[in-house]
Symmetry: C2
Subunit: 210 residues, 2 copies
């Protein structure tokens, strides 16, 4: 969920106006944000990468979303309905801009450019979220681990316009993203290799079919 305007100039804008913005640094595995209650806040990731995860009562971890540089996240993009806590966890050292607002949809009193741009881009950002979520639902509704894997690989292949691509996750995290058991997923990956559906070299996957 990437902002396609320049975050640097953007930063200057709000420094001149909306003083409720902080720049913070998080170490690996620190919690950047918790969605347990609706805090009027969102974040832009300046550097590093982080995951939006949920832990259920059985201790299963699910990766809901994955953020990299310039991605934006916050409750407004989720409208959380869940009982479970959602956490944004830093996967590496992260620099984050944290913006607290009274009402994201309306202009601030100072009428700063930050807000203007945000309101302008918000519908687009939210539509991107819808696209992501639809894609996610499509993957998750696949009945078998094999179909989930192939579905995800197809997606990456389509995105990169290449039969070979690099997984953005560790295999452990990929299992949490596809919501399957890691060992079962590894077994399925082995079968896919043996049956010549894919080639795998570390995090690089090549599709061999079609």
């Amino acid at each position: 969920m990437n902002l396609n305007f320049d975050v640097e100039s953007f930063t200057k804008d709000f420094e001149n106006c909306c003083n409720k913005v902080q720049k913070k640094t998080f170490e690996k595995n620190e919690v950047i944000m918790s969605y347990i209650q609706k805090r009027e806040q969102f974040c832009i990731l300046i550097s590093g990468n982080a995951d939006l995860v949920r832990y259920d009562l059985n201790g299963n971890r699910t990766i809901i979303d994955h953020f990299t540089t310039n991605d934006i996240f916050g409750e407004v993009f989720y409208y959380v309905t869940t009982n479970n806590e959602l956490l944004v966890e830093a996967k590496s050292k992260c620099e984050v801009l944290i913006y607290s607002y009274q009402n994201i949809h309306h202009k601030c009193k100072q009428n700063c450019k930050f807000h203007q741009k945000l309101i302008e881009y918000l519908p687009e950002l939210i539509l991107n979220k819808v696209t992501d979520l639809n894609m996610r639902v499509e993957l998750l509704t696949k009945r078998s681990t094999r179909d989930k894997l192939l579905g995800y690989f197809n997606l990456l292949s389509t995105r990169t316009l290449s039969k070979t691509f690099k997984l953005p996750f560790s295999l452990t995290d990929l299992a949490d993203y596809l919501s399957v058991d890691r060992s079962a997923m590894m077994r399925e990956l082995k079968l896919l290799k043996e049956e010549n559906f894919i080639k795998k070299d570390g995090k690089f996957i090549t599709l061999l079919y079609k």
Copy 2:
């Protein structure tokens, strides 16, 4: 995904202006809309109910969404990324308003109220969609049929503010919605009854725990 303004007066508005609107009737099981390509069109369901479904290559049917009176649907709410065809199927006789637009986000030349209201409500409608999708992802990431069922029941219980509620689906459709095998789901339902987690009388479910 419900419009919370009066569809009747709304209808008169665009009859006076945007002439690209049709009212159509569909019989049960007819396809109201296909999302295979991005047609610039959306629909409002005046009466009846319909499902947004996807059939995958293995013939599995998945119910993505369920529409009732005054619900609105169309590609703009999905931004389809899939290879599979999405279909809106009438579950009963349906009356539908079909609106073709050049650009949903911009005013039409005649500047009619229809468009005005639509543009006004669109962000809200899309945010509702995000909420639905998040809820859906939450359900689908549950690892077992049992957890999916209980998760869904909890949701209905929370919505109706009652331990007893009526399933909006047939059990067959519920299985397609939760993306599990129907017979496995029936087995799990039986176990849940036997273990006194739930009581079931036709489509009425009562939660017995907590």
